[in-house]
């Protein structure tokens, strides 16, 4: 890749806060000075796609919570980009326990300390955890 071939396809994923650095060659085929880049089209596409997937999962979880199929923990887990093993380690529980807590009828009877732990993992209040809007 030559210095003038370093892609500059910004679509504000970096929000102007930083530019990526690339090693690229000059006309003589030598690496002298790295060049900064504001982004590249394929990377932007892949990134946008990954986030779309996340948003779709979050929205689906929200609908299922509102329909009473799963507990709000499932929604916040998706929203915080967590999966079962990760959430389980944040609340110091086994995965099967967290899985149980995803059932609305089990969630209803969770102790306040347990709710507090989930709220802390998601960085929200217990109030917000219990009453999903």
């Amino acid at each position: 890749m030559k210095q003038n071939e370093v892609p500059q396809d910004g679509d504000n994923l970096h929000e102007g806060t930083f530019k990526q650095l690339f090693y690229a060659v000059n006309d003589a085929g030598e690496y002298k000075q790295p060049v900064t880049s504001v982004g590249w089209e394929p990377e932007n596409v892949a990134m946008a796609q990954a986030w779309e997937e996340v948003h779709a999962k979050v929205e689906k979880a929200r609908e299922r919570v509102l329909a009473g199929e799963i507990s709000p923990i499932a929604y916040y887990m998706e929203k915080n980009l967590m999966d079962l093993p990760l959430l389980a380690s944040y609340v110091s529980k086994f995965q099967w326990q967290v899985k149980r807590h995803l059932q609305p009828r089990v969630f209803k009877n969770l102790s306040s300390t347990m709710l507090q732990r989930y709220a802390a993992a998601f960085k929200i209040t217990v109030q917000e955890l219990q009453h999903l809007k």
Binding site: M1, W40, L86, S89
Partner: protein
Amino acid sequence: MSQVQFNHVQTAHCESGVISNLFRHYGLTISEPMAFGIGAGIFFGHLPFVKVNGVPGTTYRIWPGAIFQRVCSRLGVKMQSQKFSSPEKAMQELDRVIGEGIPVGVLSSVYYLPYFPPAYRFHFNAHNLVIYGKNGDNYQVSDPIMDVVTEIDPKSLAEARFAKGFPEPKGKMYYPVQVPSGVSLQKPIRQGIEQACHYMLKIPVPMFGVKGIRFLAKRVKHYPEKLGDRKATLYLGNIIRMQEEIGTGGAGFRFMYAAFLQEAADLLQQPELAKLSRELTGIGDLWRNFAFNAGRVCKSRSADNVSYGELSEMLLQCAAAEEVFFKKLSKVKV
């Protein structure tokens, strides 16, 4: 509180960047590509069973921490490295060490770093950065992939240092305690090159090295019929992200290694290495071409088998080129 002058230089990758920045602070000038080369950072691996957010992982570099450890042992730098059981102890020790005016490398999770753009904040736990001082309560950060230094509040830093998941940083921090002043780079360069060739050519597991690229090529070909349109584009998107995203740059690593070879060629008067550097630059361009076309397939979202077949062909081409390249490299007498 004493103000430490820390000379921050933006780099392309966090681990080799922190090495370069930290060592320079102690008068040992090693460029980022040189650190990457001596640490034999170049690699390839495709791990279908290690899933990140439900998508198989692909890596273009050696596992986190390996570059650091190799560079230190090859250059004879002694590091003090610690992990902690609680955030309080970890922050206390950090305060003590930077209080002495020593810049400290810290392992952190990208998810909790507020100065990153939200679009990049996934749960990735092996990001390296340097804390070099305090401004009031806030810590002064030299994050190697940022163009300027920045600050972070203590709460976010503690969260980032104690993120859960794999690998768990456990507040890991490190700083050099003994840095040699003058080192000959010849032997470290030779060891780095030997190790890189070994890892790319000789690991007897199909997922790693040149074999790994072929392994991925075979799988990409069957993505559409095995996974369906939607998942196929997601899997493909992840390969691109691993290749091009900040701090992971797979094709970027090819260019960085080429820069290393050029530097080594000048340093050791080895024109053969300069020739190989140009060859690797060409391979990096092959990878970029692959990413470019994969991006187009992702965008169109139609999983027609022809395009996946073509992508698979491109990967095979990359594999063939890298095999030839590393075989030549392994024969160079450094």
